[in-house]
Amino acid sequence: MKTDMVIAGVGGQGILSIAAALGSAALDNNLHMKQAETHGMSQRGGDVQSFMRISDKPIYSDLIPKGGADIILSVEPMEALRYLPYLKKGGYVVANSSPFINIPDYPNEDELVKTIEALPNYVLIDADKIAMEVTGSTRAFNFVMLGAASPFIDVPFEYLEEGIRKIFGKKGEDVVQMNIDALHAGRKFSEENK
């Protein structure tokens, strides 16, 4: 059992909650995990990434080697492509289709979609829209994304639900349920569109 995943986005998009849920799930089930993240200057609207590694064997490096990632999970379409050198042959790109535009030279969106669609293995998902449809707000879009990546993560799906319970437990059952609903919706989309 081993999954290496690059989680990508833009500073402030909250990619770390995805990593936190997954990390907590891994730890509670006695798996090894390492998760490296970006702090400091780059967080100010710059590109950020987290390297998430889960395994049933000890993990040494905090960084995923180039060509070693099973999955690139990106909460933003262009950011998914920035980490392609890390993707393993046969690995999956799971990308949110809603762009986060805070730079003047953001690429043409149609071309961006075409570039992602030309990848051998991808899921392109409008996580904001699905979160809105399923939960009535876009807040849980991150967990739609985790759900969409879940078929490719070598960790039992229930573990992910447990992780969400653990990190959102304090905020009440409504928040937990909202994120679990989002997780299921993302998974369903992925199963149908991968």
Partner: protein
């Protein structure tokens, strides 16, 4: 014991709490900030009243920690690598005074400069001061080494450096804590009442003691559980892997089947016998170290006659942090990279937040500076340094904490008038005040803008030492109150602000302009905390 998911920095913080530390002293700086923040939010640290307030700068932090050590209690001082430059005076001399209560100096280096001006390697400082250095290779070691570090410090009566780098600082893993938390030390003064008096006569005696201690430090490294020699059958190469370098080596042998002898180094001074063994039994030695080629240079020698490979001969990149694939290539393994980044991917540099008050300052400043000619804005370290990037390109320097004011003065001395300094509130109280005093004493024609967002924002909105004190400080130092201009920074005041800047630039003396508006991120966090406290109070009622 239940494992906790901790960042490397958090593991150090938890390790310090569990080792009976009585106080942490620090100034925020990536990647070291969260050590102190973790202690500030720790329940047990609060119950024990462990000191964790921010210091004004790294020098005051180091000195205060040394004072706590003098009084016999365990203490930690934390900072980023460049912070140690600020605290170096105390640091170097603390090696001579030695410690009484255990003292750990935790320095977080930033190879690859993710959030820094340089990638200096603090191990050089540790060697310079001739004190033991610990360099954990993972989160569990970071936790365990903290307790070990306090014990080492007290056993030898010396401060100990804990050196980490960005990847360990900001990477999370499961950490198993010890079952029992140590009690804090009772206050006890040094037996030798002159130990901390570095008058030449005493300092010479203390220095001789430090020199004679080197042998003991080396013996401790030899026996250390954190330095390990693993035998290997293929002696054509030996690998010395320091700190995180060990992880990148082992990443390439997932089944633990590295054929070469490996010396894992996580405690310095270097374990001499093990170093002798690996160099004598292997044809060639590769050194994997995060940061400068410190060990490599030592082994290779000035003339480079020894068979040592690493960063100096191009086997590994001379700069930047190590990566697993870089090490794989050095070991002669093939690395199959993924696809190339498509051309349409644009760079997304960090930027000032929407609604940030620095925007208003830069818009006004740029228009006024255009009237005098460009190249006269000296800036400093903080979010406002992003004013160097488009769309503003407003600043011409960023060197070290506080340098905006003194560099503006030097340029004004050379005839560049007006010269403008652009500095933040916290950077000003960190290291700007003394420079301002120099300018006041000579009535230098400089205009200092203290863009006050009432927070240390770049590192996450920590409490600024400057809060509510800026005008009083400037006036107290001797700035003419007529030339201290304070106002709320808002886009609608654009023309008014331009007039203020222009007038003060024309004044042939020291002016201080203080545009003030709370950091937008800090404001959101403050509101959230307020709301949570209100809800808590309501729940109680």
């Amino acid at each position: 014991m239940q494992k906790s998911l901790l960042l490397g920095v958090e593991a150090i913080a938890q390790g310090a709490i569990d080792a009976g530390m009585s106080g942490v002293y620090a100034y925020p700086g990536t990647p070291s900030t969260e050590i102190t923040e973790y202690i500030q939010h720790s329940k047990i640290a609060n119950e024990r009243k462990i000191h964790s307030e921010w210091s004004a700068n790294e020098k005051t932090a180091m000195e205060t920690a040394l004072g706590m050590s003098y009084a016999g209690k365990r203490t930690m001082v934390c900072m980023k690598h460049v912070g140690l430059n600020v605290a170096a005076d105390c640091f170097m001399n603390a090696a001579i005074t030695g410690a009484n209560g255990g003292m750990i100096v935790t320095i977080a280096d930033d190879p690859s400069m993710h959030s820094s001006q340089n990638e200096q390697d603090s191990r050089v400082y540790g060697k310079f001061a001739m004190i033991p250095i610990l360099e954990p290779s993972n989160q569990q070691e970071a936790y365990d080494m903290t307790r070990f570090g306090f014990e080492l410090s007290e056993a030898f009566g010396t401060p100990v450096m804990m050196r980490i780098t960005t990847r360990l600082a900001h990477s999370r893993a499961g950490v198993e804590p010890v079952a029992e938390i140590a009690a804090e030390n009772e206050m006890h003064l040094p037996e030798d009442k002159q130990q901390f008096v570095l008058l030449p006569g005493i300092a010479r005696r203390r220095y001789k003691l430090l020199l004679s201690n080197q042998e003991k430090f080396e013996a401790a490294s030899e026996d250390s559980q954190f330095n390990q020699y693993t035998e290997g059958s293929d002696k054509s190469l030996g690998v010395i892997a320091c700190g995180l370098g060990y992880n990148y080596l082992m990443e390439n042998y997932p089944n633990g089947d590295c054929p070469f002898p490996v010396l894992k180094v996580s405690q310095y001074p270097l374990p001499r016998k093990m170093m002798e063994k690996i160099t004598s039994e292997c044809d060639k030695v590769m050194v994997l170290e995060e940061g400068y080629p410190v060990v490599e240079e030592l082994l290779k020698g000035y003339l480079g006659k020894e068979a040592v490979i690493g960063r100096l001969d191009g086997t590994l990149s001379r700069d930047g942090e190590l990566t697993p694939d870089m090490v794989a290539k050095a070991l002669g393994m093939e690395v199959e990279e993924g696809m190339a980044i498509p051309d349409l991917v644009a760079a997304r540099p960090p930027a000032l937040c929407v609604g940030c008050s620095h925007h208003d300052v830069y818009k006004a400043l740029n228009e006024v500076i255009a009237e005098y000619g460009e190249g006269r804005v000296f800036s400093d370290i903080g979010c406002y340094t992003l004013g160097a990037l488009p769309p503003y390109r407003a600043i011409n320097t960023c060197v070290d904490m506080g340098a905006s004011i003194t560099m503006a003065k030097g340029a004004a001395d050379a005839g560049l008038i007006p010269a403008v300094a652009m500095i933040g509130d916290s950077t000003f109280t960190h290291s700007g005040m003394t420079g301002l005093l120099d300018a006041i004493n000579e009535n230098s024609p400089i205009t200092v803008i203290i863009s006050d967002n009432e927070s240390i924002s770049m590192t996450g909105g920590q409490k600024s030492s400057a809060k509510g004190k800026l005008e009083a400080i400037c006036e107290g130092l001797g700035v003419d109150p007529e030339h201290i201009k304070v106002f709320t920074s808002l886009p609608k005041k654009h023309e008014e602000v331009k007039d203020i800047i222009r007038k003060e630039c024309d004044y042939q003396g020291v002016s201080v302009i203080i545009p003030r508006r709370i950091c937008v991120q800090k404001n959101v966090r403050d509101q959230k905390i307020k709301k949570a406290m209100k809800a808590k109070a309501a729940a109680k009622a």
